[in-house]
Symmetry: C2
Subunit: 160 residues, 2 copies
């Protein structure tokens, strides 16, 4: 599936809600986005660590975007919440992967990683917010709705 975590998605929503530029408390944001306050709070902290939002402490404090929406990209967000983009374990440098000796493809995945990273870096937050298709929505090579569940896997055969 190659998915981002739900928290990363939430983080994007939170950043989007700060797009106006004004200061907002975690509670405000939770209210606006309908995400749970503890979760919002936790994510804002991570985003602050990553330098994507600025925090103001004390009463009447809150958070605001540290940079403009044009200066924050998708890779930044993933990076802040999930850590650096790396498709495979060995791409992270450590590489105690067990089959490393016979593995012919590690380099390949790392290169793909790079390509994906570039794609993610190219997409800025303000583009994420635009509803009209700013860049072409390339055809998914098959309609994605169908096989979400029936994936052939060892597990239970599903409700049908």
């Amino acid at each position: 599936m190659l998915r981002i975590s739900r928290l990363t998605d939430y983080a994007t929503v939170i950043l989007a809600s700060l797009a106006g530029g004004s200061l907002a408390s975690a509670a405000d944001i939770a209210d606006r986005t309908h995400i749970g306050l503890p979760t919002v709070s936790k994510l804002l902290k991570q985003l602050q660590h990553a330098g994507l939002v600025r925090s103001v402490r004390g009463a009447r404090g809150g958070y605001q975007l540290a940079r403009s929406t044009a200066e924050i990209n998708a890779a930044d967000i993933i990076d802040a919440v999930e850590g650096p983009v790396a498709l495979t374990e060995c791409a992270s440098g450590a590489g105690q992967c067990g089959i490393e000796a016979t593995c012919q493809v590690g380099h390949g995945w790392q290169r793909i990683s790079g390509a994906i990273l570039r794609a993610l870096t190219d997409v800025k937050l303000d583009e994420l917010l635009r509803h009209d298709a700013a860049f072409s929505p390339p055809d998914l090579h098959r309609p994605p709705a169908a096989r979400w569940r029936p994936l052939v896997r060892g597990g239970k055969p599903g409700p049908a």
Copy 2:
């Protein structure tokens, strides 16, 4: 992190070991790749379902690539093992995401999904196997080795 699962990586290794075109039993492949036989067997079955390998049953049977290495791409492999590439849950069509009503960014992620899918589709198995950098290894925007573990998370503070 945006990672593929280890099984997908294994699947690639397995396909790579079949690149010669000859017929090989699951046991042979397990031996060559140093991946456990049950795991190899399971993955080969999934790859067969996806049409990436052909199986020959009975004694002296085995598996072989169903298409040339130039006709199998990275997206095919991920698709076979993990299901269709979709960055977010809502991108899969179902979309019982809870905050859908106020979510401004869903479409954005779906578009990114498309871009990534295109990148993955562009990379063929034979390119994955080439060791010399066939396409440019774009600079990761920071050295990825450093923060694999120290990711700020709730869990235990680690050995240090």
